[in-house]
């Protein structure tokens, strides 16, 4: 229950973050490409569960069930008494592991599957049958949970060795052995007091460790990113009003929300600012930081710029996975640009997902339907606002880019707000005066 409450209430955006860096497809080729590798089964189960992280509470329940299952299996070997508390240690370590946004759920499945196999083998009669069982189980287990050369299964950054995961894995096996050895000295007690005390001791110590290691600062940043991706402009402003963001993503999203509500120029001075970097930061070559900026590019009508930014962000996902969020945005930018066949590819892929299918089905009929696109509140507006002049853009947004956007369509209130905000933040009075005189 504590795990569910923690991930559901204190850490939900870490789960959203996880979900957006994968795209689980109900497709035989996709499944085969995963399960054909050692560790593929654990990886597939992890990815399957991670798709539910789009709804944080469902994700929290899944994690709760997985960690409870591991604890229950370990407790079967540990028994009661003073050792009972030890049965929680592997699950606590896995909880600690999952605090890291790059820790993949496949790792937890690998531990669980290993323990299920060990438990199953212990159920076999001793002697030849059990030996045969072990010989048969080992290669199967290697296929299901073993890591392969690129080590992508259990941690997003293949270079990083997920120590905590392996410690949890080893402890899950070592604790029963330890208990077996130590049982000579500490005898089982039949009452509930000692097991409860032992649990309370482990829970307090490990709970404190989990809480201390939770990255609530990152959670806040992820919250802003999540709200931007779901276009929750009012909620963003409400959140910023409660506690003003002081990180780049938070400030970028806060300014975007203010602009989307048409109050950026009136209210930006009431919030923390970070110069140009808080308005439209330079695009970095990672998978996370460009996404809020890409959202701003998109809402401004810089469709090609948004498309490139999202594409590059997706390519920067280090374990080569794709992203439902990115596919969706790439389908949208291609639709707005009139590249219907490319948009169709992304939409057809999204049709093979659980949670993006309905959106893809709704969007597919729009392809090629110029009238419906023109009438669409988002795509029609962004088409109208998009650039009318061609030039090369760079990773650094310049006032000329915003000016060109605005003068291409003076209805583009977003471009207007961003341009004036740009001048306000840089204090470039000369350019501002030039713009005002040009705009008369």
């Amino acid at each position: 229950m504590a795990v569910i409450l923690f991930f559901g209430m204190a850490y939900p955006h870490h789960l959203h973050y996880q979900e957006q860096f994968q795209l689980f497809l109900f497709d035989s080729n996709y499944v085969w490409d995963i399960v054909k590798l050692p560790g593929g089964v654990a990886d597939l189960l992890g990815r399957f569960c991670t798709q539910f992280f789009l709804y944080a509470w469902v994700g929290a329940v899944i994690i709760g069930i997985l960690l409870s299952a591991i604890q229950l299996l370990v407790s079967r070997f540990v028994g009661g008494g003073w050792f009972y508390g030890l049965s929680y240690v592997p699950s606590f370590l896995l909880w600690l592991f999952l605090l890291d946004e790059h820790a993949l759920l496949g790792g937890v499945w690998a531990v669980l599957l290993t323990f299920l196999a060990v438990w199953g083998l212990c159920k076999l009669p001793k002697g030849l049958v059990r030996y045969i069982g072990i010989i048969v189980a080992l290669p199967i287990l290697y296929w299901m949970v073993g890591t392969h050369w690129n080590g992508c299964h259990y941690y997003r950054y293949p270079k990083v060795f997920p120590t905590l995961l392996y410690v949890a894995w080893l402890l899950a096996l070592a604790i029963p052995l330890l208990v077996y050895v130590c049982r000579k000295w500490l005898k089982d007690s039949k009452g509930l007091v000692i097991p409860l005390c032992s649990f309370a001791l482990v829970a307090v110590v490990m709970g404190a460790v989990v809480w201390k290691n939770a990255n609530f600062k990152a959670e806040k940043v992820m919250q802003y990113d999540f709200m931007a991706s779901h276009q929750q402009w009012n909620r963003i402003i409400e959140t910023a009003n409660k506690e003003k963001p002081n990180n780049q993503i938070g400030v970028t999203v806060q300014n975007l929300a203010l602009a989307m509500r048409g109050v950026l120029l009136d209210q930006m001075q009431n919030y923390n600012q970070n110069g140009i970097a808080g308005l439209l930061p330079d695009v970095q070559s990672d998978a996370t930081s460009p996404m809020p900026t890409a959202e701003a590019f998109y809402q401004l009508g810089m469709i090609n710029v948004a498309q490139r930014t999202v594409f590059e962000a997706q390519e920067a996902i280090l374990d080569f996975q794709k992203s439902g969020r990115c596919y969706k945005r790439l389908a949208q930018t291609n639709l707005i640009n009139g590249n219907y066949e490319v948009a169709r590819k992304y939409l057809m892929a999204l049709q093979k997902t659980l949670f993006y299918r309905d959106w893809a089905n709704e969007t597919l009929p729009l392809l090629g339907d110029e009238e419906a696109i023109a009438k669409h509140p988002e795509y029609g507006r962004l088409r109208k606002w998009a650039y009318k002049d061609n030039f090369f853009f760079s990773d650094h947004v310049t006032p000329e880019m915003l000016e060109s956007l605005y003068f291409g369509c003076t209805d583009n209130s977003m471009a207007y707000q961003y341009l004036i905000a740009y001048y306000m933040l840089t204090g470039d009075r000369e350019r501002y005066n030039n713009f005002i005189s040009k705009n008369r």
Binding site: V342, K345, F393
Partner: protein, 504 residues
Amino acid sequence: MKSYIQSYVMFLVAAMLLLSSCAGHPDVPSSSKESKSLPAIYPDYCNVIIPYNIAPLNFMLPADEYSECVARITTPDGKQQTYGNGVKVQIPEDEWHEMLAASKGKSLKIEVWGKKGDEWLSFNPFDIIVAEDPIDEYLSYRLIEPSYVAWTFMEIAQRNITSFEETQIFNNEITNINKEKGQCINCHSYQNYKTDNMLFHVRLSNAGTVIVNDGKISRVNLKRDYTISSGVYPAWHPTEKLIAFSTNLTRQAFHTLNPNKIEVYDLASDMILYDVKTDSVTVVSNDSTLLEVYPTWSPDGKYLYYCKSVPLPEEMADKDIRTTYPKIQYNLYRRSFDVATHNFGDEELVYDAASADKSVTLPRISPDGRYLLFALGQYGCFHSRHHDADIVCIPMEKYTGTALTAETSSPVDMSLVNSDGYSDSYPSWSSNGHWIMVASRRDDDNYSRVYFAYFKDGKVGKAFLLPQEDPEHNVFLLKSYNRPEFMIEPVKISVDEFSKVFDK
């Protein structure tokens, strides 16, 4: 006992019938409405000329319009077979090759029926003409997202064209020692369609050019103090252990509006000759004011062809290439080559594209030396990103020492090969000169696909897509086929063996 045997036999017959229906030989609809048009099959294989050794041309009807498809194939000897499973027609390889063997030099007749709602439609039949000339058994390509700057997984793969077997030659993961830096692999190239002498580049992490010399692998650094970069676009000499490379300082820029989206251009480019035996690099041309790129040898090895930019108008000469790029155009040149001395002769202008406000790239001479293929667009050197890029084929007999132009070159009619408004690029010849291969973005304007077309006596057949086991494969594949190259044999070195060269 008798009744037991009887029921056993009946069970066997039923099982065989069930199995045969699983192989996909459905009945032709008993009644249908004539549609009086060719079926809108994907890929479009209507009236194409194909080699007799190609994999089954599986196809499908659009799934959003039809619920079922049945095709009946008739061979010249009158034998018929039907196929169809849902909207897809997937023909078993052995049956297909049997049909092709019986049709060499003749045609297969294809009749297609499609079920729309409750009604079956019958379409006009079409032919698939089976040429007597085979296609090279293998093809290799790089599979890559059509990306901007960043990329993830990429691989160089080889495909058996006579079947659907695809295997990996190399990938950018196995020797990548720096994930943040990433690794790019590119420009696979073979000597004379054979794989005992081949190469590919590895950039960034663990960089180098992997060269296979008579089956022996080595990794070399082609960058020298006197070159602007390491080797980029390669061309193996057809008989010698020599490789011509361009050296390029390449940049990319991104359009806000232009549908070409990405512009790839060179700030500088030269040409070098690499001697595999001595590991020595000599400069072939390094005019600092002009750009030389895309070397290719004549099949006899006596000429090196390449593209070279024409000087910009004086008023533009000092301007940023990001503003002058639409004016940068390349012509086609050649220089004679003395195999004994490794000396090059004077430069000859072979094809003047700039005079017609065009730019020529990626030349390839046919194996018999009689025809020249290249990609032609309005400007620049990277036509795979240019919507107007088309393939041009000219007879070399027209070149008598005076530069050819669009008017004087008597180009072959390539209208059945080129697409309208989509990039057609990277042309190449099969080893027998009867099959042209191009990389085209015609399917969706973004993802390059491999197309083949028959070529004989200066006439070209309709281009058709590289067949796949699942005809829907290309619809879902979010990768481009980059740099398709014919091979007459597979690369025999495994990914692991290649990776060992990085341990040294």
